[in-house]
């Protein structure tokens, strides 16, 4: 019995959740999983799931899986947000709210971690996968199996975060887990370990994706597409990929050092014994600041596509836009210290980083002016993606003012770590990142499914998000100036904060209504898909190559690889009425499905779980599993298959016939 128990490391029956809220969350998670399993079994869909999705290396399917997971995580992170708002609206004076302080701290740590890593990054990589190969006129990404592995590592990280709800606990040390608080002495439970290993596993996936999309864009553009002829979205992906390659190794190292402290008793960041926690703060932000630009630049890319398309006009100032992206990418690595001006680094250092931070406002401002002048003298069609964009322009600009303010170190001293700061970064991330990707999903949805999403519900969703956002975060700016710091699970009634917290809570409920409209939008549109299905290859009158393919896009993307001679290649083709009908089809070679990615990630998940709970046998098994999966896959021959020219011709003819029929 004893030896069996030691085999399980720290894991025992006490790992199951104690308090009611966590039990509820855990129960809904488990029931949801059971429901999925039952449905798959009932409809006999296991084989389909395995063949079509779990083993796929098609970037289009991988992209869809990223987005599905990310949207599910948006619900989870949103539930966390609701709980935080409920707590802060009610936990005043003698009342102590709905959550214990420990649960509350786990909730906000999970909220931040999930929203950045598993919502923001998930939506972003989803759109990379869906759009980049199409926009550069390619059939695939550079390393398709690596790409699938990246996705599954992301899924494994996501699974670990959610598992912490059922088995054990999550970190209570905030989304960046500053030591010494995150060290073993002050956080003895498994929470911080869950945080470390879920991010470590997902982060390595992100790094590999960054490499993959960098190589894809550099090496796989179709004939005639110089870098300066790429759609702006691809430019944003290219700059982001470079940033990922520089930034994510820092995250990997930082997490490893913290893990060494916690697991092997080392002293990189401990208080005392030579450790220096401030080194961690520097390192984590050397990754963390570029990270927020990693998230937002592709969203800028999405907005650039949307504004040009819906204004029926070429993007204004293309070269300025590319220059601005590059400038932001470089500057983003020179500003990390502005996250801790209050550490006392001295006036020269603070002033330097403050000025570098403000400089980022210049290229960002240029981008906004260029978008506005894309609309100027255009014919603006206010479809729902444009509503998201309009909300973005107003909110992001206001958030930018708060950002420039905080770049002045003495101003930062007065608002740092207050709700003013919380309001600022939510303004940037929600209006910049989330609005951008949601707009992108609406915009590109018909390309992959052959029908548009319900526009009316989409507009309701956008308006609810915008109005809800103002109500939810406007009060937080004021609360910050009132001295309300972030992450409080309780405050004294004498502070006079409660009214504003209640308003913020109402705002979050309105955002929740927006989310409901989005779910309804997906539900209704898919329910009515037979009526909506028009297979229109170019439903928005697009400008770039993805719209030259049939909708839904065939597995090989392009029957014949396109050749382009300028920007907005598809717009040019339409203007010159270039014939789309090709005659001489050729055999197409594509990579075969493989379970390699799924296996690598599955073993990585097991290894992660093993190290979190000190189940060393599982760590060894997981580690060996990862290695052998990679070796076995690397030695595999015949990893491609051929689609014969005849079949390509049939698929293309059918697609064209469907379009004209609809």
């Amino acid at each position: 019995m004893n030896s069996f128990a030691s085999l399980l490391g720290k894991l025992d029956i006490h790992a199951l959740p104690h308090d009611k809220i966590t039990q509820g969350g855990a129960a809904s998670l488990v029931l949801g999983m059971v429901a999925v399993v039952v449905l798959l079994t009932y409809f006999k869909r296991w084989k389909w799931l395995y063949r079509e999705w779990l083993t796929t290396v098609d970037p289009k399917k991988i992209g869809i899986m990223y987005i599905v997971v990310a949207l599910l995580m948006l619900l989870r992170g949103g539930a966390d947000a609701l709980m935080m708002r409920a707590q802060q609206a009610t936990s005043v004076g003698a009342a102590h709210g709905v959550l214990s302080s420990d649960t509350f701290q786990q909730v906000f740590s999970a909220h931040g971690t999930i929203m950045i890593f598993f919502v923001g990054m998930g939506l972003m990589f989803g759109l990379f996968n869906l759009i980049v190969p199409l926009q550069i006129g390619s059939r695939d990404v550079a390393f398709p199996v690596l790409n699938a592995t990246s996705f599954w590592l992301y899924a494994a990280g996501m699974a670990l975060v959610n598992l912490s709800l059922v088995v054990g606990e999550f970190s209570a040390a905030g989304w960046l887990a500053y030591p010494p608080l995150s060290e073993l002495k002050y956080s003895p439970g498994v929470g911080v370990d869950y945080w470390i290993w879920s991010l470590q596993i997902a982060g390595i996936g992100s790094l590999m994706s960054g490499i993959n999309f960098f190589v894809t864009i550099v090496k796989m553009r179709c004939k005639g597409m110089d870098l300066m002829k790429m759609p702006l979205f691809c430019w944003s992906v290219l700059t982001t990929s470079v940033m990922i390659m520089f930034a994510f190794p820092i995250l990997t190292v930082t997490l490893t050092l913290l893990a060494l402290d916690r697991t092997l008793g080392m002293h990189f960041f401990t208080a005392g014994a030579g450790g220096n926690a401030m080194m961690y703060v520097n390192l984590i932000w050397a990754w963390g600041h570029p990270e927020v630009y990693i998230l937002v630049l592709p969203a800028f890319g999405v907005y650039s596509e949307i504004v040009a398309t819906f204004s029926r006009k070429s993007l204004f100032g293309y070269k300025s836009m590319v220059g601005a992206l590059a400038a932001i990418a470089i500057l983003s690595f020179t500003v990390w210290l502005h996250h801790f001006f209050t550490m006392g680094a001295g006036a020269d250092v603070n002033a330097f980083f403050g000025i570098m931070t403000m400089l980022i406002a210049v290229p960002t401002g240029v981008k906004i002016f260029n978008w506005l002048f894309t609309m100027y003298q255009g014919r603006i069609h206010f479809a729902s993606p444009m509503i998201w964009f309009m909300g973005f322009v107003f909110l992001f600009t206001l958030g930018g003012v708060a950002g420039v303010m905080m770049a002045v170190p003495p101003i930062d001293f007065q608002v740092h770590n207050s709700l003013f700061l919380v309001a600022h970064f939510h303004t940037m991330i929600i209006s910049g990142v989330i609005f951008g990707y949601l707009a992108g999903i609406t915009y590109w949805f018909p390309k992959f499914f052959g029908f548009k999403l319900n526009e009316r519900l989409g507009k309701y969703a956008a308006w609810c998000w915008i109005v809800g956002f103002i109500l939810a975060f406007g009060p937080l700016y004021i609360l910050g100036l009132m001295g309300a710091t972030r992450r409080l699970d309780h405050y004294s009634a004498a502070m006079g904060w409660q009214q504003l917290f209640i308003v913020a809570g109402i705002g979050v409920l309105i955002i929740g209504l927006g989310v409901f409209f989005q779910l309804l939008q997906f539900g209704v549109s898919i329910w009515q898909r037979k009526a909506r299905l028009d297979y229109a290859p170019d439903p928005w009158r697009g400008r770039t190559l993805e719209w030259a393919t049939p909708s839904p896009v065939p597995v090989y993307n392009f029957a014949k690889l396109p050749e382009v001679s300028g920007r907005d290649a598809f717009w040019a083709m339409k203007q010159t009425k270039q014939a789309a009908a090709d005659k001489d089809f050729m055999d197409i070679r594509l990579p075969k499905n493989t379970p390699a990615g799924l296996l690598v990630a599955g073993f990585a998940f097991a290894a992660g779980f093993g190290i979190i709970w000190h189940i060393w046998a599982l760590l060894v098994i997981g580690g060996l599993g990862v290695l052998s999966s990679i070796i076995i896959r690397s030695t595999a021959e015949r990893t491609e298959y051929t689609i014969p020219a005849k079949q390509v011709e049939r698929i293309e003819t059918e697609a064209r016939a469907r379009e004209s029929y609809a």
Binding site: Y186, M358, L372, V408, F413, M482
Partner: protein, 295 residues
């Protein structure tokens, strides 16, 4: 309706207690002015952007066929130069402001008031309360810090637990307290009153209860307060300090007489070189040590 809403918001802003905008200290006052200046400079760009956005979106809507449609017009060297240049100039101005104010309002820079001797207060953040040591008055207090109005205060801060951030919004900006390091903060109140202070950085379970009161008093009242503390039956020797440093939630205000000399330095040093705790290095030695001067 929009006007009523705006009026409500403005009324609220002027009647609510917003310490950052209603400072009671010289540093807070300067920081508030900086905030207003930064906002005004940003408005030079923001107002045109908002006006243009509304105008362009309205005028060039799809249904307005009278508006000019010029789909090929996609760059203009003049226009683009303008919107690279104007933000650049504004940020240039703000950079000068940032550079100067960073030096002027450096938390490590001592304040001076003619004819007034500054007050030294040592601050130790503990799980989950604030210890204030008055080395010259030989008293200590928990969760209440008092000082005479119009007197420069030299705060010297550290932590005997995880990192916290010391913040009294009505007086001015915050600074981190970190174990094994000492930071400084210089503030001066110019209005009598009692103000809320707290920790701005998450430090564990009892973090929300780490609030304290900062009282700006007349010299007379301050003297009386010191006397009250001196009369406390508890003295802050090593044993009492260790008991106090144990984690505890929502602590009441309490006073200690005669804190052990060198207590603050001891707290800093025990993380730096554990073998030396107990024997006190002279304070000038600490300045040369890596990581001592708050990095």
């Amino acid at each position: 309706m929009a006007a009523a809403l705006l009026a409500t918001i403005i009324h609220y802003l002027f009647t609510a207690n917003i310490p950052v905008l209603q400072p009671a200290g010289v540093i807070g006052q300067k920081e508030k002015h900086l905030m207003i200046l930064a906002i005004l400079l940003c408005l030079i760009v923001v107002l045109p952007v908002f006006t243009m956005t509304i105008f362009i979106a309205w005028k060039y809507r799809e249904s307005n066929h009278k508006a000019k449609y010029n789909p090929e017009w996609d760059h203009s060297r003049l226009f683009e130069t303008v919107w690279w240049a104007i933000p650049f100039i504004i940020i240039g101005i703000l950079s000068v402001v940032a550079w100067r104010s960073s030096h002027d309002l450096d938390p490590f820079k001592a304040l001076a008031a003619p004819g007034v001797k500054p007050l030294n207060i040592q601050v130790v953040s503990l799980d989950w309360k604030w210890l204030f040591i008055y080395p010259d008055q030989h008293v200590a207090s928990v969760n209440r810090v008092e000082f005479p109005v119009n007197t420069p205060i030299n705060f010297e801060l550290t932590s005997d637990s995880v990192m916290n951030s010391f913040w009294v919004p009505a007086l001015g900006g915050q600074i981190y307290t970190m174990p094994g390091m000492s930071t400084q903060l210089h503030l001066m109140s110019d209005r009598l009153g009692s103000y809320n202070g707290s920790s701005a950085n998450i430090s564990g379970n009892g973090f929300a209860g780490m609030t304290f009161t900062a009282v700006s008093a007349t010299g007379e009242n301050f003297g009386r307060w010191i006397k009250t503390a001196k009369n406390s039956s508890k003295s802050l020797d090593t044993v009492a300090y260790q008991a106090l440093a144990e984690p505890s939630h929502d602590n009441q205000v309490s006073y200690y007489s005669s804190p052990q000399p060198g207590l603050f330095e001891n707290v800093v040093m025990k993380y730096m070189m554990p073998e030396m705790s107990g024997s006190l290095p002279p304070s000038h030695m600490m300045d040369g040590m890596p990581g001592m001067a708050g990095m």
